[in-house]
């Protein structure tokens, strides 16, 4: 089977996010970058599906030159090849992003045959547009299920599990299909060193699409009121044990 998984390079969170002075971007001087967590699971799922069923996996991103790092990361854990839509670092809106990706999918399918599965993150970790996968499914006229926590491919169909209040909704879609997935879908593996080394040699195709005139105008960014890092010291040494147990019970771990 053939699978395409799309990823986005996003700033690593963990520290307090600071905006640039003009409030148009995130101050990234101290930040590392990563694949959006939902998409990390998408990559892992693609690798597992190809490991189980054979075929080819392709990772795609639209992002700045540095986003090659994320493509190599994906290839390090087993994706076969990569397509990089290189931008100048400006954010593309979901419509423009979907349009550019669509073009790649159509060309690739024309040359190599249909993708059985197009995997997207449910939403990106930074802009959270929730749209790209849906727009692409619509454009291609393929079925889509979103917000998935389990994906199983079996005999020309894909079984999709969506978490809802009080349980799970299950959909079975015929392939080819589009799915958007969420963190928790699986536990992504760490890349091995040989995997990293192989990733350096795997094929990566770069393209430079032209950014269409944005139809959304960004006024400014605002950092939401957050709770920040909060640590409560429960005690020291053995004396802390009862409180630790209490907290573990509270959060339902024990």
């Amino acid at each position: 089977m053939r699978i395409l998984v799309a990823v986005k390079r996003v700033p690593m969170t963990g520290g307090r996010i600071v905006l640039t002075e003009d409030e148009q971007a995130i101050e990234t001087r101290h930040l590392g970058f990563t694949i959006s967590p939902h998409e990390e699971c998408g990559v892992e799922e693609a690798v597992r599906l190809i490991e189980a069923n054979g075929g080819e996996s392709v990772v795609l991103t639209l992002g700045p030159g540095e986003a090659e790092e994320q493509l190599r990361d994906a290839m390090a854990i087993g994706i076969d090849r990569a397509v990089h839509l290189v931008t100048d670092g400006e954010e593309w809106d979901p419509q423009a992003t979907a349009g550019a990706i669509l073009e790649v999918i159509r060309e690739d399918e024309a040359a190599n045959g249909r993708f059985d599965l197009l995997l997207f993150g449910n939403e990106s970790a930074d802009t959270g547009g929730y749209q790209v996968g849906i727009r692409i499914a619509h454009a291609l006229g393929r079925p889509i299920a979103t917000g998935l926590k389990a994906v199983t491919v079996d005999d020309g169909t894909v079984r999709c599990e969506q978490e809802v209040a009080g349980g799970r909704d299950v959909y079975v879609l015929p392939l080819p299909a589009v799915v958007t997935v969420k963190e928790g879908l699986n536990l992504p593996r760490y890349p091995s060193v040989p995997g990293r080394l192989r990733a350096q040699r795997k094929p990566l195709e770069s393209r430079s699409p032209v950014r269409p005139e944005p139809r959304l105008e960004r006024l400014r960014l605002v950092v939401p009121e957050g709770e920040g890092k909060q640590a409560e010291i429960l005690g020291e040494g053995a004396a802390a044990a009862p409180r630790v147990v209490e907290v573990l019970q509270q959060i339902g771990v024990v």
Partner: protein, 839 residues
Amino acid sequence: MSTNAPAAARAVVIGCGIVGSSVAYHLTRLGWADVVLLDKGPLPNPGGSTGHASNFIFLVDHSKEMTQLTLESVRQYREMDVFTECGGIEVARTEERMEELRRRMASAKSWGIEPVSLLTPAEIKELVPFVDESILLGGFHTPGVGVVDSLRAGTIMRERAVDAGALQVLPNTEVQGMGVERGRIRTVETSRGTIEAETVVVACGVWSPLIARMAGAHIPLTPMVHQMIDVGPVPRFERSPRAIEFPIVRDMDVFMYERQDGTSLEIGSYAHRSIVHDPEEIPSIEQAALSPTEFPFTQADFDPQMVDALDLMPEIVGDESVGVKYAINGLISLTPDGMPILGETPEVRGLWSAAAVWVKEGPGVGKSIAEWMVHGESHIDLHSSDVARFHDHQKTRAHVKARTTEAFPKTYGIIHPAEQWSSDRGLRYSPMRERERELGAVFYEVAGWERPHWYEANAPLVERYGVKPRKAEWDARWWSPIINAEHLAMREHAGLFDLSAFAIFDVQGPGALDALQRSVLAQMDVAVGRVVYTPVLAPGGGFRSDLTIMRLGDDEFRIVTGGAHGMADRKLFSDQLPDDGSATLVDVTTAWTTIGLWGPRARDILSTVTSDDVSHAGFPFGTCRVIEIGSQLVLASRISYVGDLGWELYVPIEQGARLWDVVWEAGQPHGLTACGIGVYGTTGRLEKSYRAFAAELESEYTVVEAGMTRPTVKEQDFVGREAHLRHREEEPAAILCTLTVDDHTSRSGVERFPLGREPITLRDGTPLTDAKGRRSYVTSAGAGPSLGRYILMAYLPPEQAVEGSTELAVEYMDERYPVTVDVVGSAPIFDPENTRIRS
């Protein structure tokens, strides 16, 4: 969060990493009862480099100072029960590295680290079964290597001091400013209030430059990236009974290390490009994703290193199931000369630096700094780490950046003891630069000065004097047979030396004599026109410096000292100046240039250019006065560090070239030869058994041991007097001796020449240890061209310090060469009656 800072403290230590916690603890141990320790971060991991350190400790370093700090640290870590011994192996992939490992063997023996051994590849495999030994030539094994829990150690030290009621710890407390009055620290302003402080210690790791700057002081270090990844889980380690079971491997040739950490393997690298940051670039604790000193990993920098790790440990690193779980660009502190930055800052009294210290030296540094603060000196000689050592240009960002960028790739490099820096050169030139370049000077740098080490124009002298080249590349590196030829030309005729790099300080005023009397061992109340050579002692009676002082007037003295230690010396004297302003010290280093003229023809040469009386009777040894040379007034000082008749000639720096020309021309009929520092600092000095600071003279040796006892001790008080008087009553534990090598031939038939710091042993290799537990090692080594022998100096225990003894050997490159003890004490081996100097 509401705790207020106390209003006053004897000491405020800033930084709760391993260094600050240790300094604070040891201050309380030494009796200081109100110490405050604060950090802007939380505890137990405030977010500095301690928190992400790999925490392993290799014991052997070529630097005695570093080794001693490390050994003291290990002793403390063991006592706190946070040290896990696992052994460590430095492995060699190249023959060049094997040579370096043989030198490690020598350093281990010199500093008393046992056991150590060289391993075959098969023996390495036995200890570390997951290496591919087929790519290795051998290894250097130190079983005493281990890993520590440095955060736990910090916690233990803080708890002990707090429990003793002597320490208050304030985490989450930011320093916002420091108050300085009349050059002395007064207050520390924090986010919890202002503390009046008698002393302040900056132990802030990579942030130290910023904190010191608040008080107007300099701590010239830079944060530099060290990359580290953690791979696992390693199937082999899942059965390990403890966190580290296998020896730590340092893969020296590719600048990497690998060590077990539980079920993981930690892989660290010093092989990537130098990634320097400014302290200002470090994010706040809130902004940092991990900790402020754990920067995002830059994969591309590490890619080549993965291949090297894979080659050495294919079983683990090549295992597809073993993942890269953690990867950081960790910040570490680097300094322009690779040594820590310790001691009271020269800019601000009471403001101390304990910075650029790694985990392996932390507790040792803490103890040493505390001793220095409380007793006036540390039991470990810290001259190479002294914060006062930096010259102004060495405090600049550009210099720090240039030198650390050059040094980073050499972290695991093979460094020749005479190796020169290539970055940021050409800063300070003497006025004779053009003449020297015409003579093909090969410049070595000291304190920014470019000094001729030898002159290529003298190459023909090599043949004339029959100087043999050295066949072993290492021994010949950073050396030239021209040095020996220049030496012989000086001894036959005369030599002209550029000594512009001297540091020169004028001490003047009605209080000048008293200030100098307090500072130095020798009697300074001498006749005007006398030149006095004197040691400067530490409170414990060991050496802090040695230098010469000219009395130019009743209230006017001129101190002349080596450039390398000039700034530390300046602080020694400045510290003794009276508060009432009755004496001042002015640094006149760049006001004067110094030209040395020595050799049997020196007087003939000088008398052709001056009408002043320069006869032996008219201008005796050990005196100085102004003479006329052409249209120049020249301060001539009749002393010598090369053991020949002659003078140091001082003129204003802008006249130096003219003086050089005049003397040079006058000297030509007399065979005058330009001589480099190779003669001045090594061959000339060693033939006369003259001691050098930082080689023979260190604070752990006494005047008596150095063989420099004078008949009487002056009545006036001076630093170290009490201890010195005591030493004179005791039997010395070791005596400084001059030895010569009897046979240089190695097993391979090539003649070898030790370069210094090698162990002196019995002929069977048994090391010599004196009653104070110090090993005998070569303090200086170099040719004695006029003797036709190769000279070594070493402190020997009294039973071995026997003139004519042929029981000893010097160990070099894992081979032993027989030596003879020629002189016990200070008598020169060449011209023992000093007839040349006093002719």
